[in-house]
Symmetry: C2
Subunit: 359 residues, 2 copies
C-alpha cells in the first residue's frame, strides 16, 4: 500500500546536483566560508531551505573528530531515589551516544546553602563545558552562574524547576501548579464532595518547605480547593527533615486530635512516612495520596496504604536534558523550549506498566 526508505536521505553531493554547483561550493556555503558569489549562495540556500537538510551526524562527528564536555549541577541527595533516577537518565543518554566523544562532569550542592551552589558552579565552569544541565536554586545564585554561561555562549538547560526570566535553552520538569490541580481533582473525587476535613503533610527543612516543587503544587491544590471545596478544612502536619524519631508521635497526635480525618495528601515524595505509619499501627480506612514512584512509596502502594501517586519521570528528565544539549550542540538541531513531563497517575492497578526507563 505504501513504502518508505530511510536512505532517501540527502547528501551534500545531492544538494550540489540539485542546485547546479559543486560540492566544494555547497561546503563553502554550509560553513560560511568566503569566496562564494551571491548568485551561487542563493541557489544553494534555496535548495537547503526546500529540503531541510540534516547532515549525517555520524559522518560529521567522525570528520570533526571533536570531543564535547557537558556538566551538570545537582542538589546533593545521598540515597534519595528521586535524584538517583535523574542521574541514571543523564548517564544513560551519554552512554547511548557512545559513537561520539562525550564527557559528563557532575557536582552537587546543598539545597539549603547558597555558598555551596556557587562553589560547585565555579568548579564546573573550570571544566570549560560546551553545555550544562542546572537544577536551579534561587534566582540570584542561578542568575549569577547563567549570565557567565551566556557570556561565553555556553547553552544550558534547567531541570526540575524553571526560572523563565533566565531563558534557558530548554526546561524539563513538571508543571507544578497543574500537578496540584490534577491531584486535587482525583483526591477529592475519592474523598467525596462531602469530606469536611483532610490532612496535608508537609516536609520541612530548617523551618521552610523542603522544596519549591512542594510549594507550587500546594498552591495549585489550594486554588482548586478554594474554587470547588471551600468548606473543606485543610489541616497541616509539618514534619522536619532530620527529626524522624518524632514523626510517629506527631502523626498520632494529629489523628487523635482530628478523628474525622480519613484522607491525607502530601506534595513531597515521602508519602511513605504516613503509609508506613498506617501499616505499623494497623490502621485501616485511611486514604493517602502522594508523589513519586520510589521504592518505599511503591511498597506502600502494593500494601494498600497509598492509593495514588503522581509520577514525575525523573529518569526521563535527566535523559532528555542531555539529549537536548546533544541535539543543540553536536547535531545543531532545533530544540523545544518547554518539556513538561506527563502527569501520570499510578495505582495498584497500573503501577507495573509505569516505565521508568527505556534501555
Amino acid at each position: 500500500m505504501w513504502e518508505i526508505h530511510s536512505s532517501d536521505k540527502i547528501r551534500i553531493k545531492d544538494i550540489a546536483e540539485r542546485s547546479g554547483v559543486s560540492v566544494g561550493t555547497v561546503d563553502r556555503v554550509l560553513h560560511n566560508r568566503p569566496n562564494v558569489s551571491r548568485k551561487a549562495r542563493a541557489k544553494v540556500e534555496d535548495v537547503l531551505k526546500a529540503i531541510n537538510y540534516q547532515p549525517n551526524s555520524y559522518a560529521s562527528a567522525l570528520a570533526y573528530n571533536r570531543t564535547y564536555t557537558f556538566c551538570c549541577l545537582l542538589p546533593s541527595h545521598g540515597c534519595n531515589a528521586y535524584w538517583t533516577e535523574v542521574e541514571k537518565g543523564l548517564k544513560q543518554c551519554l552512554l547511548n551516544r557512545g559513537d561520539f566523544h562525550l564527557s559528563l562532569f557532575a557536582e552537587y550542592y546543598d539545597q539549603f546553602d547558597e555558598a555551596s551552589f556557587v562553589s560547585a558552579a565555579e568548579s564546573l565552569l573550570a571544566c570549560r563545558p560546551d553545555g550544562m544541565v542546572v537544577v536551579p536554586l534561587n534566582f540570584e545564585v542561578t542568575q549569577m552562574l547563567c549570565s557567565r554561561l551566556q557570556e561565553s555562549g555556553v547553552p544550558f538547560v534547567f531541570l526540575d524547576s524553571n526560572i523563565p526570566e533566565i531563558a534557558p535553552l530548554s526546561f524539563f520538569g513538571q508543571d507544578s501548579l497543574k500537578s496540584g490541580h490534577f491531584a486535587a481533582r482525583i483526591f477529592m473525587m475519592q474523598a467525596g464532595a462531602e469530606a469536611r476535613r483532610i490532612l496535608l503533610m508537609k516536609l520541612m527543612s530548617k523551618g521552610r518547605v523542603a522544596s519549591r516543587q512542594q510549594e507550587n503544587r500546594e498552591v495549585g491544590f489550594r486554588s482548586y480547593m478554594a474554587a470547588r471545596h471551600p468548606d473543606c478544612d485543610i489541616v497541616e502536619l509539618p514534619l522536619q527533615i532530620g527529626e524522624e524519631e518524632s514523626y510517629d508521635a506527631r502523626i498520632g497526635d494529629m489523628l487523635q486530635r482530628f478523628p474525622d480525618i480519613r484522607h491525607c495528601i502530601t506534595f513531597s515524595s515521602r508519602a511513605h512516612i504516613l503509609g508506613e505509619y498506617f501499616l505499623k499501627k494497623r490502621l485501616d480506612g485511611y486514604h493517602l495520596f502522594g508523589y513519586d514512584m520510589i521504592e518505599r512509596n511503591l511498597e506502600c502502594l502494593k500494601q494498600g496504604t497509598i492509593d495514588f501517586l503522581i509520577a514525575q519521570h525523573p529518569w526521563k528528565q535527566g535523559y532528555n536534558s542531555i539529549k537536548a544539549l546533544f541535539n543543540h550542540i553536536v547535531l545543531r538541531k532545533p530544540v523545544q523550549q518547554y518539556h513538561y513531563m506527563p502527569l501520570e497517575l499510578l495505582t495498584i492497578e497500573n503501577y507495573m506498566y509505569y516505565v521508568a526507563d527505556e534501555k
Copy 2:
C-alpha cells in the same frame, strides 16, 4: 563529584589486548568463523562476557553495507486517527535511523475479512522482508503467516493485540484486562459506591464487538465490578458501525428508559459519540469514561462531556515496534519480549502534557 565518558567504549582492538590474542582471532570468535582453538575462544568469550561488548553499530553497518527491508501488516482504517498515529510512529522510527539503509513496506487488511489478511500477507512475503510488524487478526490466519516467517527465520513483532502461543519476538500493546480493572477503579470512584446503574456503550461491527481490545477490557471491567460492586446494573448500548444515523435515537431511547443512569463508559475509542450527543442535546450531569486521545474525544474532554480517557500511546507502539526489529536484526541487541504501554489517565487537567510523540 563524578564524571563519565562515552568514549570509554571498548573496541575490538581493546578486546584483543585484554584477552591476549590478535584482532583476527577476536573477529573469528565474534562471527563464529572456524579455525579458533578452544583455549583462545574461551579467553575471548570471557572478556566479551565481562565487559558486555557492544560493537559500534554505525561502523558495523558501514562495513556490512547491507540494506534491510521491514514490512508491516495493519488493519485498513481510512481517516481513523488511532491507526494513523501508529503509522506515524512506524515511519518516524525508520526515518530516525537514516544513517542505515532501511526500507519499510506496508499493506492493509480488512478486519472483518480473513481473505484480505491472507492476500495482504502474501504480497508482503513477496518483498522478502528481514523483519515484520503484524497486527494479528484471529489465531488461524495469523498463525499461517507466522509459521512461514518462522520457517525462513524472519523475526516478527505483534502490535496492539497479542497471541502468546505464536511467540513473537516482541509484543507492543496494552494489557487489556488490567486496563479494564483500572478503568473500573477510577470510574466507580467517580460514580460512587452507591451508584446502582451504569451504561456501557459497545461499538459493534457485523453483529460482533468491533475489536478484541474492546472485548478484553470489558472482561477486566466486569471482573472488577463483580468483585467490588456486584449490585450495580450494567446496561448495554450496542451501536453498529455504519448505522451512524440511528445513534441519536438509540441513545435517547436508552437514557429515557433508564433515567437513573448518570455514568457511562465505553471500551471503544468512540466515547465522542456519547459526548457529542450530550453536548448537542445540552444534557448536563452525565459522566463519561472512554479510551484514546483522538481529536474528537479531546474536543469532548475540553468541553467537559468526557471526564476521563485512557491513552494507549499508539505512536509509541508503532515507533517501538520498528525499534525492536531494528535492535534485533541490525544491531543484534537483545529485545524484551513484552512491552506493555503505560495505563495513562487523561483529564481536562493533564491532557496537555500527554506527549503523543517525540521528534
